[in-house]
């Protein structure tokens, strides 16, 4: 592929900086649920993402030749952001974060504490408690949370490097359910706001970025597309389009039409 891989208008935007690290791409992507490692790598390349999330799990001792994901993703090229996905308590999330730091290459962790198996919505008490511990231990915590302003403010106060409110539940593809909440969180926080989870297609990514947030993280919308590589391109363009539209400043909404062509000077 050519053309579309280049950022649409790089000079019009600044990098995003989280915990002292700067990234040009505002699209962060996950590595789960792909049909093959080759497809995952091709999709990540097409997305233009620099930040790529990974999970910590047991080595499969019966298939030790089936190597971990580091055999497919070059940690010198991608910034690997470990998550604590699947953790249901603060203690469990802290344990996973420590394991991830030992396995990884940086102090960054995408902190998830899940409170409910059906909706995978965050346990915000456990999230805040674990965030405070991990910040003290020197982690750069990116906290996956609800679209709730008060929790977002508390996470910022706790020292999180970024706050990651959901667009809708993980893997749901329902898109941005509450643009008002996301805008409010962005307006009130100083740390970067990265919308994480729930987008389904490129227009969702565009709409998310049009709210003015600093970035977006997604996995399922790309991995479960019929053609993940094509969807990764689309998500890249959608993310860039939304970001540039936000920076450009949209026209006001009106309840009446306003003609685009002059009303005067029409030949009689």
């Amino acid at each position: 592929m050519t053309g579309v891989l280049n950022p649409a208008a790089p000079a019009l935007d600044a990098p995003i900086t989280i915990g002292g690290k700067s990234f040009h791409s505002r699209l962060f992507v996950g590595t789960g649920k792909y049909r093959s490692n080759a497809e995952m790598v091709a999709a990540i390349e097409a997305s233009g993402a620099e930040v790529v999330t990974v999970a910590v799990r047991r080595v499969d001792l019966d298939r030790s030749k089936d190597a971990g994901i580091l055999h497919h993703l070059d940690p010198a090229r991608f910034f690997l952001l470990a998550n604590t996905a699947g953790c249901y308590s603060a203690d469990e999330a802290i344990r996973y974060a420590r394991l991830a730091r030992e396995a990884g290459f940086n102090e960054f962790v995408k902190l998830e504490v899940i409170g409910d198996r059906e909706t995978l919505l965050p346990d915000v008490d456990g999230l805040l408690a674990s965030a405070r511990v991990l910040v003290k231990e020197g982690f750069q915590v990116l906290a996956y949370t609800n679209d709730d302003l008060i929790t977002a403010l508390r996470l910022e106060d706790a020292g999180c490097a970024a706050v990651m409110p959901l667009a809708s539940p993980i893997g749901s593809g329902l898109g941005l359910l509450n643009p008002y909440s996301i805008r409010t969180i962005k307006r009130r926080l100083s740390v970067p706001v990265i919308v994480d989870a729930g987008v389904g297609t490129a227009s969702d990514a565009c709409l998310v970025m049009e709210q003015g947030v600093d970035g977006i993280l997604m996995n399922t919308a790309i991995a479960e597309a019929a053609d993940p590589v094509a969807m990764a391109h689309a998500m890249r363009l959608g993310t860039e389009a939304g970001r540039l539209a936000f920076l450009a400043g949209r026209m006001p909404r009106r309840e009446v039409a306003v003609p685009s062509s002059p009303e005067h000077g029409k030949p009689a």
Binding site: A82, L99, G171
Partner: protein
């Protein structure tokens, strides 16, 4: 008399390994590259430089983890 082998719980499964055992020897026996694996013994992380000097005792619970795909 020293036991000639000991029983560990490795990633939830019981495994017999020759005695004396260390974290590094266990990884070698399992054919795992220490650079790609994190070792936890009884819920304590063993840092890579300490793998060779960390003894394993009968009944120890060992977790071996690495990065996999995730969102």
């Amino acid at each position: 008399m020293m036991a000639t082998e000991l029983v560990l719980t490795v990633n939830g499964e019981q495994r017999r390994v020759p005695a004396p055992a260390t974290a590094e020897r266990l990884l070698n026996q399992l054919g795992l590259d220490p650079r790609g694996v994190v070792v936890e013994v009884n819920r304590r992380i063993v840092r890579r430089p300490e793998l060779a000097t960390t003894p394993l005792a009968d009944g120890d619970a060992v977790e071996l983890v690495h990065f996999v795909g995730g969102g």
